[in-house]
């Protein structure tokens, strides 16, 4: 189980306002957040708008990166590009072996492009996916956007 882990307890209490519902006893929450199954974890902002979700149980070394990724997506959607950039890069740096890391690196590239309007900044970030996560779906997604090396 993830929640009894001290590192998870400490992380959640420090960084989130946590709330918990039984899906069977709360049809309003089920409807509002279009819930299909449990367990589901969703990152919301202070208005209750959802930004990232995942299903199923995860170990702490996957669970915490997912939550940090959710905070990054929230910053991006709120157009706080500097915070989003920092947060996505932090996911990759702190949890390079997590499943969400290559996707976070993908969004680093997107944000870099949106900040600089320079496609080379995006390509540079995406090249790191090819290099560090060559077997991920994200490497396949960006491979068509990266120019072939000159011979």
């Amino acid at each position: 189980m993830t929640y009894p882990q001290p590192v998870v307890i400490d992380y959640i209490n420090k960084n989130f306002i946590p709330v918990r519902y039984n899906i069977q006893a709360n049809p309003d929450i089920k409807r509002k957040y279009r819930l299909l199954w449990a367990p589901t974890v969703i990152v919301l902002d202070s208005d209750g708008t959802d930004y990232h979700r995942f299903n199923g149980f995860l170990p702490p070394d996957e669970f915490i990166p997912q939550l940090e990724f959710g905070i990054a997506k929230m910053a991006l959607e709120k157009r706080d590009l500097k915070a989003a950039r920092t947060q996505f890069a932090s996911v990759v740096e702190k949890y390079p072996k997590s499943d969400i890391a290559p996707e976070a690196q993908y969004w680093v590239g997107v944000v870099d492009f949106q900040i600089t309007n320079d496609v080379n900044a995006e390509i540079q970030a995406w090249e790191k996916i090819i290099k560090s996560y060559p077997n991920s779906i994200w490497a396949r997604k960006v491979s068509g956007s990266i120019p072939c090396e000159k011979e």
């Binding site: 960084n15 306002i17 918990r20 039984n22 367990p39 589901t40 902002d45 202070s46 939550l67």
Partner: protein, 59 residues
């Protein structure tokens, strides 16, 4: 004799020494789950922290 005195001292002292070396200051032993959604929203607005919504089922 000395051995017995040392043993008695350490036995008595351990309960007082241990807290001084343990890093439990401010640490929670459980997640502080909110019970009401409106209260959760209010606390999120007040602190600036995002909300973690966990949905579970029994059985």
């Amino acid at each position: 004799m000395l051995k017995n005195i040392f043993f008695s001292f350490t036995t008595l002292a351990i309960p007082f020494i241990s807290p001084a070396f343990s890093d439990t200051k401010g640490a929670s032993t459980a997640i502080q789950w909110e019970k009401e959604f409106d209260e959760t929203i209010a606390k999120s607005k007040a602190t600036g922290k995002p909300i973690l919504l966990d949905v579970f089922m029994i059985g």
